[in-house]
């Protein structure tokens, strides 16, 4: 069999679709050939809606699942909107997986702080599936998830399930809420000092809006975490996904190929620049 052409979308079908939030859907799609089924949590596929366009979408499902890939998409532009409107059995193009994943092997033995904001919980969900499957390989695991309001909480049922586990600490916070909300209200960076982790043995994975990640990384550094122990998943305008076109270039980094998961020291100094 010839090697796959990484610029050629593979036609696959939508197997299932679930509405997560008002404008956010999760699509289960066929994996395509076996050699393209495996992925590392944190990687992404390029998804192509025929006649509309192509966008990068991170895997949001279980990395051990081999019969389908999950992608969680919020309708914000023409392609993402078309993706969320695809019915079951519709065809779409898929290529990848691309990019770097979260350093799960390197983090074995350490405590994990998984910090997500908004839709950023989706690329971290495969990490949770992985670390809970191999729970004994990791120390204390904390998930801190922040979003806009209670009605914007992603994967609510799963979060409730994870919260019931004894081996996982789950903290959910919202930026604002009505008086009926019994949970936490406050921004993610402000909650970092309350996590009570062992800074000398903690690795942090951050995924969410860039401002939130930047301020959260600062809070983690203030709490004593080493810069090399902080990883961020970056989002840029990826086109080729192979590091050729330069659309996703961020300083000296090609986010599609060098990222999207990058250690903080590679991003330090770039995150607060208005223009590059």
């Amino acid at each position: 069999m010839p090697p796959p052409d990484f610029m050629m979308p593979m036609p696959v079908k939508v197997m299932q679709r679930r509405q997560e939030l008002a404008t956010t859907w999760t699509l289960d799609v066929e994996t395509g050939p076996d050699e393209l089924a495996a992925f590392t949590p944190g990687q992404f596929n390029m998804l192509y809606v025929f006649g509309v366009g192509e966008i990068p979408v991170s895997f949001s499902g279980d990395p051990a699942g081999r019969d389908r890939h999950c992608f969680t998409v919020r309708a914000v532009g023409p392609v993402s909107r078309a993706l969320t409107e695809l019915p079951i059995a519709a065809s779409l193009g898929k290529r990848g997986p691309y990019g770097t994943g979260w350093p799960l092997a390197a983090a074995e033995g350490a405590d994990l702080a998984l910090i997500a904001g908004g839709l950023g919980l989706a690329p971290l969900r495969p990490v949770l599936y992985h670390v809970l499957r191999y729970r004994q390989r990791y120390g204390r695991i904390t998930l801190l998830y922040g979003t806009r309001s209670p009605s914007d909480i992603l994967f609510r049922d799963e979060l409730d399930g994870w919260r019931r586990r004894q081996d996982l600490e789950v903290r959910v916070t919202v930026d604002h809420a009505g008086s009926e909300w019994p949970g936490q209200v406050g921004v993610v960076p402000a909650l970092v000092p309350t996590l009570g982790f062992d800074a000398s043995n903690t690795v942090a994975f951050l995924c969410g809006p860039e401002v939130m990640m930047r301020l959260t990384a600062s809070a983690l550094l203030d709490a004593g975490l080493a810069p090399a122990g902080i990883y961020l998943s970056m989002e840029r305008n990826m086109k080729c996904a192979l590091g050729h076109c330069g659309h996703c270039q961020f300083g000296g980094v090609f986010v599609c190929k060098d990222g999207p998961v990058l250690p903080y020291p590679r991003l330090r100094g770039l995150l607060s620049l208005q223009e590059l």
Binding site: V76, G117, L119, D175, G178, S179, G183, V185, V211
Partner: protein, 154 residues
């Protein structure tokens, strides 16, 4: 059972306070408890107390006419509720409501202010502990205003 001096000295806001200062603060302090749903204070009221949460959770809320109250921050064990007691005209700027059984130390703000005025070293000590909280809440507010989880196109 711990006395008020122990409780004040163990609370993060006053932890490590010089014993002579602690004694001054304790002269203004008492134990209080709030049932779930009970208000600690209301917007516009006199900010004549400050509350140090020992156990429990408190929501800071702004009433929106015709709608539910909007909660913009929750505070829990170890937190200070309310900062308006430190700045004239000493009026609360929002509502504070216990969302679960909350035990706290209430400090009479007039009493504390008088003691801070009389002993600037105590006043400086209190301000040093208050300012990081104010800065942290200011930064949190900045992030909330940015509405970072909203759609970028909106």
């Amino acid at each position: 059972m711990k006395d008020i001096a122990q409780l004040v000295g163990e609370h993060p806001f006053f932890q490590g306070l010089d014993p002579s200062f602690c004694q001054l603060v304790c002269g203004c302090a008492r134990n209080v408890r709030f049932e779930p749903g009970e208000y600690l204070f209301h917007e516009g009221g006199d900010a004549d107390q400050l509350y140090l949460i020992r156990h429990g959770r408190v929501a800071l809320e702004i009433a929106v006419p015709g709608k539910w109250s909007l909660s913009f921050q929750t505070l829990q064990d170890g937190d200070l509720v309310g900062v308006s007691w430190a700045v004239p005209p000493y009026h609360w700027a929002y509502d504070a409501r216990a969302i679960e059984l909350t035990r706290a130390i209430a400090v009479d703000a007039r009493c504390l202010r008088q003691k801070c005025d009389a002993d600037p070293a105590l006043g400086y000590e209190v301000l040093q502990r208050l300012l990081p909280i104010l800065i942290s809440r200011l930064q949190a507010t900045r992030l909330q205003i940015l509405d970072v989880y909203g759609d970028r196109d909106q």
